[in-house]
Amino acid sequence: MKKHVWRPLFVVIALVVGILLFRAFYVPADFGVQERGYTFGYHRLGNEQEWKNFPDKYKGSDYCADCHEENSASLANSGHGIIPCEDCHGAAFNHPESPEKLVIDRSRNLCMRCHVQLTMPSSQRNDLPGIDPQQHNVGMECADCHNPHNPSLEDM
């Protein structure tokens, strides 16, 4: 073959070798077809472990009960017993180390999430006690009158 054919051919070969070399170094060894096959499982296997190592923020009510037995027990016996601690007290993160104290959401809006009267005939929302926020003690915080750990009106 003539020189003018070989020259560009060398360039192409060099390019291909270069790309293959780059790929060999850049693509990690665990990248490839995994359990779910080529269509659904073509990925870097190590990423599954990376997602598993993602830090938890919400620890669950049992975690709270380990130290705060009394509060946990009093809540459990009330109408609000079904509500997880962290819904109002905020995510535990690494409490008690960090943060040392959790910020409790005492806002009216938090209570209103469930207790604004909405007409929802096909939903359990209809069965919850509800108020009209424009009529019911406007400007006051719910916790001024109602005890969130014992919301029963008889005990007010």
Binding site: E50, K52, F54, S123
Partner: protein, 257 residues
């Protein structure tokens, strides 16, 4: 060699080779395991139990580092209100991360709509999240292998590998994918893979006071969630897309898309 002998040994050779190759294919342990693993995560939503408090949305955002003020979320709750006049009104203000605290229904350009209580026929809430489809459309369109299904049926995104082309966001029939405003990659519900892999519950299911959201192992016949999915009347969203969604709903009706 006679012709007859040649034909005989050729037939033996060909059938022998064919059998041994097919035997190798049949017994690839990884494929066998993938087809019959003893764990396949599934999700169950009970729309009767949901009261639209939105604690699931808030918990999801905090657990998974999705900025609260950003207009993106991995899960959200929709409100459906049907009227006697035949209207179907729906909204999901801020993905319902602050819950539903008003009777006014957000109708975007046409403003807030008030429906008189006596005109309401059906009204309910529908929590939405990634369906972790068996045949996920979003996974098939990824050009770089950044999004994938795990052996236990969770669809994940490799943040180091994602180039942000956005094909998966367009490919998902359910609109559950979005660009993460901080990571600058495609993002979606991981079914709290970090929690469920350690035996925990998803953040949304844990935050739900009413048990409207539940996680289960569809391969375990004794799993309470799997039992409900097997024996009760449950529906999935948009089955016509053929993606085999694995998030099942109790109390779904045709207005819900």
């Amino acid at each position: 060699m006679k012709r007859r002998e040649f034909m005989k040994s050729a037939a033996v050779f060909v059938s022998g080779v064919a059998v041994s190759i097919s035997a190798l294919e049949l017994l690839d342990p990884q494929e066998v395991l993938a087809k019959n693993p003893d764990l396949r995560w599934g999700f169950l939503v009970d729309t009767y139990k949901c009261v639209g408090c939105g604690m699931c949305v808030k918990a999801c955002k905090i657990e998974n580092d999705i900025p609260l003020e950003a207009n993106v979320t991995r899960t959200w709750v929709e409100r459906y209100v049907m009227t006697k006049q035949g209207e179907v009104l729906k909204d999901s203000p801020d993905g319902a991360q602050h819950g539903y605290t008003s009777k006014l229904i957000d109708q975007n350009a046409s403003g807030m709509k008030k429906v008189a209580d006596e005109d309401i026929t059906q009204a309910f809430f529908v929590p939405k999240l990634c369906n972790h489809c068996e045949l996920a459309a979003c996974v098939q369109v990824c050009p770089v292998g950044a999004t994938y299904s795990t052996a236990d049926g969770v669809v994940l995104v490799d943040r180091k590998w994602c180039i942000g082309c956005g094909y998966c966001i367009m490919g998902c029939p359910y609109g559950v994918r979005f660009f993460h405003p901080v990571e600058h990659t495609a993002d979606k519900c991981t079914l709290c893979y970090h929690r469920i892999s350690k035996g925990g519950d998803t953040a949304c299911a844990q935050a739900c006071p009413f048990g409207a959201r539940k996680l289960g192992n569809l391969r375990d016949p004794n799993d309470p969630v799997a039992k409900i999915i097997l024996t009760q009347r449950v529906g999935v969203l948009r089955p016509e897309y053929g993606t085999k969604p694995q998030c099942y709903y109790i109390g779904l009706n045709e207005e819900v898309r």
